[in-house]
Symmetry: C2
Subunit: 272 residues, 2 copies
Amino acid sequence: MKRSERLVGMTNFFLENPRKLFSLPYFVKTYDAAKSSISEDIDIIDDMFRKMGIGHLDTVSGASGGVYYTPDYSEKNSNEAIEEMISILEDEKRVLPGGYVYMSDLLGDPKYVRLIGKIFASAFQDVPIDYIVTVATKGIPLAYAVAEVLNVPVVIIRRDPKVTEGSTVSINYVSGSSRKIQTMVLAKRSIQEGSNVLIVDDFMKAGGTIQGMTSLMQEFNVTVSGIGVLAEAEDEDEDRKIEDYVSLLKFVEVDERTKHIQVKKGNYFNSK
Amino acid sequence: MKRSERLVGMTNFFLENPRKLFSLPYFVKTYDAAKSSISEDIDIIDDMFRKMGIGHLDTVSGASGGVYYTPDYSEKNSNEAIEEMISILEDEKRVLPGGYVYMSDLLGDPKYVRLIGKIFASAFQDVPIDYIVTVATKGIPLAYAVAEVLNVPVVIIRRDPKVTEGSTVSINYVSGSSRKIQTMVLAKRSIQEGSNVLIVDDFMKAGGTIQGMTSLMQEFNVTVSGIGVLAEAEDEDEDRKIEDYVSLLKFVEVDERTKHIQVKKGNYFNSK
């Protein structure tokens, strides 16, 4: 096979299989090419991925070595994506009764969901993660978008048990902002003891839901190695229950009367 | 930029932007190359995408012309993917009390979810689709996987209204198998009148849930141009409410006592 064809094939292959090691002989066989040619292909792809700001190829030498694609969405790409989302969200038509902001359309657009996934995956790329954990409903697409890039499975906590889940573990917790008692349920067989998980959700105010998920993870003897929320809201009148998290957006002001919405970049961008 | 680099960049670009037309001058400018070179690049990528069974590039001539990527997951690829899923599902440990089958792990694996999305997108590639519609919870990852390939937004019907959705339309319907009255809710602003939608869900028995979604779509003056379910179950004792749908898997037998599960390919593969 010609180099030009191999480059198309291998680019697709790496994008489809992030963070997974493949030996050079695998590519030699698949594309019927010399090892030296494959090595050159890898250099070209690595170079171009870096230029595009979508990550890089890492080579491991030795008998059990090979190459793997590490997605890493560049600072420039991340900033552009989040600024575009902010300009979409700061539309006064989004203000709902009660001072909420309508964002279902943004969360329904695969383009933005994937961008969010890429940014979170880059934020947590050096943390050990075996599963992405979220709670139904709105966090689900975000969780899959991150999972796709980190190449790990998703586990969905439910609000109500379902017969198609088998036996479950459930906890009750107090929602931070509404002070109501709520329930979370997770199928026993859905997660392995001793794993590391990344919690992903769409929104955090006082942090009660995230704290509930953290407590449920303790029941499974699982370590929460990271917490990512798309948007956080200022929460003046109480102390936040969760301190260590990554946010991409921050709602600074939502005025129901004037319809004014002010959104800033979240804490992920503080150091950038 | 060199051809080798352009091929990596353009391959990534087409994969990220399916079914969207881009003019040749766009690529000429982005990659700083002659139009004839870009045309050759497109031929190479088109050729390799066809060889890999992941679709093809279509060229539109004329002033408003350009090129777009049509994902089309080949019969061979689709068959291999679905056969792998069948062998995973036919594991006796999956039988749950009540004769249900545990499939949350399969639906939690981004690899399989994306494969399912690719197959559905190919099945419905010639149908007009403005939105993918599903109902919480298990259909959500499948809906996004299809939406990603077809490059359209996702709309999620909920079981309960939420304050962050604004005003909603709701319907009550009778679940086919349990005969219980259930509710579906959808935010008014989530979908445009006169649109065409593809309904996607994980499982169908009598079809009551799908029928409920269809009724709700009528309230929005929206046309249901297709229905895709990952798995259907034989439903002996009643007439199915939905006739025209595409299924990828069919549960032929689930025996709670012997733990025997038999899964066949769904009707999508009948003609293949």
